[in-house]
């Protein structure tokens, strides 16, 4: 087989996978939500639906996606569910009552998301459970995305379902007093999914790349289900601003291209404009938050026609606001980088080095493990004509980059270099 054929075949497979993922996201989560309501039991509903998804993934690639995928899934879920739950009369009767079309309730899907992201569940379980029940991924797909054995994912999901039923984690939308905290948890899960997918894309982990799409879909769903929450819109805008520039992030060989060197003509200008309108809608609600501010920073980069035209002063101001709301050593490092590129007297290499030298010992302990910190110091020292010190910092950066901390480097760059 020639390389070209393999490539074309991989592309076809990729397209088919994307289509299946889209259909399953659209319908599986919604049907799971219906099933939980009908059966009154999260674990039983999840078992039944996961089984229907597995069946779909076996049959659809060969037989084609059915004309009404949701009706197909429901029929399979009901039939297989009656087998699976044979011994439990109370479920059987309820399942038998379930007819097409199921009564839609927009809150069902939201309840499902809040249950999957309940703070009483450990974070890895929240991620796995959300992907499986809300996005309709199989355990094999989740395992491939996170580079963990499938048995680990199965165990996480099994334990989480047991905890949900034993600890009495409710299936409901939190009340107004709890909603802000609980929504933060959900957004953190979506953000982690996105990061995982975004960072790994192009790194030979095609399954991970799909996570970015899953995260975007989840964020869009949330924006529709809980409107007028500025941080939800902020996160959606942040994800879309990154996705709009994804094509320019890698060379044909799959190597990462830094923002400074990206071919900006390959950015999706329409998508960027759309995301910025979303961010403006969030800003109009006048409750700034960390996701909105991160999106605003990325928007500054996305709007700049060239690296040199970037509004670095504005970026410094946005980092100041971000640090006031969400202090973090990594954000302080990125602020220093923005200061470096901002015009004097506030900006410049000496001002940026002063920022880094003024960091607290605790921040420095954290940043000492980050290659980007040392690479930034090296760049500043070189600009200030201190080549010996610059070389020392470069060597330290190199030491850290040579090990598997490469991933971490990408992570830091995500927020500012996209």
């Amino acid at each position: 087989m020639t390389g070209e054929n393999t490539g074309a075949e991989a592309e076809r497979r990729e397209r088919a996978h994307g289509e299946l993922a889209r259909v399953l996201r659209e319908h599986a989560g919604r049907l799971t939500a219906c099933l939980v309501r009908v059966l009154g039991d999260f674990a039983a509903a999840e078992d039944v639906m996961a089984d229907a998804v597995e069946t779909a993934l076996k049959r659809w690639p060969a037989e084609g996606v059915p004309e009404h995928p949701d009706a197909w899934l429901l029929t399979v879920a009901r039939r297989r569910g009656l087998d699976l739950l044979r011994r439990q009369a109370r479920y059987r009767d309820k399942l038998a009552e379930l007819t097409w079309p199921p009564q839609p309730d927009p809150d069902d899907q939201l309840k499902l998301i809040f249950t999957c992201c309940h703070p009483a569940l450990p974070r890895p379980a929240q991620l796995a459970l959300t992907l499986r029940t809300v996005c309709g991924l199989t355990t094999a797909q989740i395992a491939a995305a996170f580079l963990v054995p499938e048995a680990t994912v199965v165990q996480r999901i099994t334990r989480a379902k047991r905890k949900i039923s034993q600890a009495g984690i409710p299936y409901r939308v939190p009340g107004d007093d709890e909603l802000p905290d609980r929504l933060d948890q959900v957004l953190a899960v979506v953000y982690l999914l996105f990061n995982e997918g975004y960072l790994a894309s192009g790194g030979g982990r095609p399954h991970a790349a799909h996570l970015a799409g899953d995260a975007e879909w989840l964020a869009a769903r949330l924006a529709w289900l809980v409107p007028r929450r500025p941080e939800v819109l902020g996160l959606l805008a942040l994800i879309r601003l990154h996705q709009a520039r994804a094509a320019a992030r890698f060379t044909a060989a799959g190597d990462l291209v830094l923002l400074r060197d990206q071919d900006r003509s390959r950015w999706d200008r329409a998508a960027i404009a759309e995301a910025i309108r979303l961010l403006e809608r969030a800003a109009a609600l006048r409750r700034p938050g960390p996701y909105q501010l991160q999106a605003a920073i990325v928007a500054c980069h996305a709007e700049a026609p060239t690296w040199d035209d970037t509004d670095w002063e504005q970026i410094v101001v946005l980092y100041d606001m971000l640090l006031a709301l969400a202090p973090s050593p990594v954000h302080r490092l990125h602020r220093a980088i923005a200061v470096h590129h901002a015009p004097p007297p506030r900006g410049g290499a000496d001002a940026a080095l002063a920022v880094l030298d003024g960091l607290s010992p605790a921040d420095l302990r954290t940043l000492d493990r980050y290659p980007l910190y040392h690479a930034t110091r090296a760049e500043l020292l070189r600009a200030l004509d201190r080549p010996a010190a610059a070389r020392t910092a470069d060597r330290r950066a190199l030491e850290l980059t040579a090990n598997p901390a490469q991933q971490a480097l990408l992570q830091e760059r995500l927020t500012w270099k996209g």
Binding site: H118, A120, Q166, A167, G168, I169, P170, R172, P174, E178
Partner: protein, 113 residues
């Protein structure tokens, strides 16, 4: 559902309590009393335990004689100092009640099967 809220004391909390003036300590006790009154409708049973120094542990490890030792079975800086059994709809309601607990800094929530 029924849950037990286990109130966990830390060394630091015990020290703070010991360092309080008498009126402050009195007020802290009253806050706890008010908490029990506020949630009386959900509390089915509760107890304050004696100090950890008064604990005795029996280990029945299968050998002929059970081993009796001084002290709580978990050696550590955090000890269970009391519990309340509550009857509520779900974990969120139990969490809401536990969040308002005005005394020691850790509360473990366990469902009763």
């Amino acid at each position: 559902m029924k849950y037990v809220l286990m109130f966990v004391e830390t060394e630091e909390f015990a020290k703070e309590l010991a360092a309080m003036s008498e009126p402050d300590r009195q007020e802290a006790f009253e806050r706890v009393g008010r908490w029990f009154a506020d949630h009386a409708a959900h509390i089915t049973h509760h107890a304050h335990l004696g100090p950890a120094e008064a604990a005795t542990t029996v280990r029945l490890d299968g050998s002929a004689d059970a081993v009796v030792t001084d002290g709580p079975f978990v050696e550590g800086k955090e000890v269970v100092s009391g519990y309340a059994e509550i009857e509520v709809a779900d974990l969120d309601q139990a969490l809401a009640i536990a969040r308002t607990w005005p005394a020691c800094p850790v509360v473990e929530i366990r469902p009763i099967t």
